[in-house]
């Protein structure tokens, strides 16, 4: 199989981040089209394309845009969520560093669609190279008249400001991101009101992911029908997957949605590192349920197939795990991540994530008992399903419970069994 490159067609060109190069490959054509038609028409095209948000939740993009009220006097804001930080996910960074103009183009289209004259590019603070690349592209776009007042004489104004986050994973959640942009702690907000009604500075706001904005210019340029024919009926288009773990060629791959998971692993990623057998795959970032090697055989990379396997595409992060990997250790490290990143507002999350982490640490050290394993599962029941403001707590459960249930023997083997601990096969290593 081969990749189907739409967003990333020119990503490997050394000049891909330059305005002149981007224009030479039909860059900003989609924006020019959008500037010549009515906002409703843009929303209709995006709706018809079937594009679903690429940040994690998979919400239809056109529908999200249509929620912005039209007749209220408040300003409207558009935000690009570039606070990529889910373990396993590193696809947006590549788009930001190599194709910043494609994102700006998508944002101008989105801004015209919802009537926003100001937008923010919220990027995670660690991405220094991406910050430089994006700021340079924003400056170039202003100089060329693609941003600012009266864009290309269309009468439409749009200002774009780059805003760097400061190392909080939770700020990838849209209402936490909005709080952070307002100069507050990144605490998620209760919904409703939804950002479409009351978001940034209490004004109507749309937040979309980097990959979503990067896709929009192509849809405007080539049409909704062209786009909706790619992929599957309910998951149209291509998607970027960031593959990490035990494969020979980890990296970012753009493939048609609906592609079998194992084709991605075996063909594009060159198969398993050191040819060890496949043990499991986490198909959509650390927060989604793990698939066993057996389940991977029938899983396709689309929203429907993942739902049928009781998991999700999430953020498009495929973590491939080879035989010999210590799943108790990896699960502990995921739980540690969620405990570290919990914002602390809601008790089930603040207490739950830390408690789960501590119990897994105990089991990892060979000091746990079966009661500890039961306690994790009991805690998990109280950490999910709307007991918290945002889904970080649910994400921790998604990273822990399915692994314990599907690989229970591995956790049980560590319970008060120091001799067994010695016999653990060490994790695969690239070093």
């Amino acid at each position: 199989m081969a990749e189907m490159k739409i967003l990333t067609k020119f990503i490997d060109d050394p000049r891909s981040n330059e305005l002149e190069f981007y224009e030479s490959v039909h860059g900003y054509d989609g924006m020019k089209k959008a500037l010549s038609i009515a906002p409703e028409e843009i929303i209709e095209i995006v709706k018809k394309s079937g594009l679903r948000g690429r940040g994690g939740a998979g919400f239809p993009t056109g529908l999200k845009w249509s929620f912005i009220p039209k007749d209220i006097p408040k300003p409207k804001y558009l935000i690009c969520n570039a606070d990529e930080g889910e373990p396993g996910t590193f696809k947006d960074r590549k788009l930001i560093e190599n194709l910043p103009h494609q994102i700006i183009e998508g944002m101008v289209i989105g801004a015209k669609a919802i009537g926003a004259n100001k937008g923010f590019f919220y990027i995670r603070g660690e991405f220094n190279k991406g910050i430089d690349s994006m700021q340079k592209a924003i400056d170039e776009a202003y100089a060329k008249g693609y941003l600012g007042k009266n864009i290309l004489g269309s009468g439409f104004d749009f200002d774009l400001v780059l805003y760097a986050g400061a190392g909080a994973y939770i700020c990838g959640e849209e209402t936490a991101l909005i709080n952070s942009l307002e100069g507050r702690r990144g605490h998620p907000r209760l919904k409703p009101p939804f950002p479409a009604v009351s978001g940034l500075y209490r004004c109507p706001t749309v937040v979309n992911n980097v990959e979503t904005f990067s896709t929009v210019p192509h849809i405007l340029d080539k049409g909704a029908d062209w786009y909706s024919k790619i992929g599957t009926e309910k998951s149209p288009g291509t998607r970027l997957f960031s593959v990490s773990g035990h494969v020979k060629k980890p990296g970012v791959y753009e493939i048609e949605l609906g592609t079998p998971l194992l084709e991605l692993v075996n063909d594009l990623c060159g198969g398993m590192l050191d040819d060890v057998p496949l043990k499991a795959v986490i198909p959509g970032g650390s927060s989604v349920p793990i698939l066993t090697a057996e389940e991977c055989k029938t899983a396709n990379m689309d929203f429907e197939s993942m739902a049928a396997h009781k998991t999700m595409l999430g953020s498009g992060a495929v973590i491939v795990i080879g035989e010999g990997t210590d799943l108790v250790e990896t699960t502990y490290r995921f739980a540690r991540f969620y405990a570290h990143e919990s914002c602390g507002q809601c008790t089930p999350c603040r207490e739950g994530t830390h408690w789960v982490r501590d119990l897994l640490h105990k089991i990892r050290e060979g000091e746990g008992t079966s009661a500890d394993l039961d306690l994790i599962l009991s805690l998990a029941r109280n950490m999910e399903g709307g007991t918290t403001i945002c889904p970080l707590s649910d994400a921790c459960v998604g990273a822990v419970r399915p692994t314990i249930l599907k690989f229970k023997h591995e956790f049980e083997a560590r319970l008060k069994d120091k001799a067994g601990k010695e016999e653990q096969i060490p994790a695969q290593t690239g070093v």
Partner: protein, 159 residues
């Protein structure tokens, strides 16, 4: 003596204050400027930032924001701040072994700074470079696909 921002930073702060509909938004980029200037954020600096932004922003609000975000160093770090990613994808490619290697090379444990104040080593959560593991961030730059040899070279070059 209260903290004085450099004239360059004052100009940047003035520009930032015009960019946002609500000046409170300047707290995060303001803290970042402070850290750029002195390597970490402290009470005097935060007070100066709160004063610069002006009413109703108080030191307490700036402090509340600074303590929430991990990117701001609340205490001084070495000339080279080495942050090694400790999340699972990096673990699966050997970050634990690399971490031990760096510790033994520098003669310090995680969280410590070398006596000459040159290196501070910390383990952090996901840096979003999972496909290029194991990796470290040193000051503003990412170093990826590391091996012991590559890491030794990097440490040797940092003088």
């Amino acid at each position: 003596m209260s903290y004085q921002f450099s004239s360059q930073s004052v100009a940047r702060l003035d520009k930032l204050l015009e960019m946002f509909p609500d000046k409170r938004s300047v707290i995060l980029p303001g803290l970042y400027l402070l850290q750029k200037e002195q390597g970490y954020v402290d009470r005097e600096g935060m007070e100066a930032l709160a004063d610069k932004i002006g009413s109703p922003i108080s030191l307490a609000q700036v402090y509340g924001v600074a303590t929430f975000y991990t990117l701001y160093n609340k205490k001084p770090v070495g000339k080279y701040h080495i942050q090694i990613c400790g999340t699972s994808s990096c673990y699966m490619r050997g970050n634990d072994k690399l971490e031990k290697h760096i510790c033994s090379r520098l003669g310090i444990e995680i969280g410590e700074t070398t006596p000459d104040k040159k290196f501070t080593l910390e383990e952090v959560e996901c840096l979003g470079a999972c496909g290029y593991a194991p990796m470290v961030q040193i000051n503003d730059a990412y170093y990826e696909n590391l091996t012991f040899e590559k890491m030794d070279e990097i440490l040797k070059d940092l003088t």
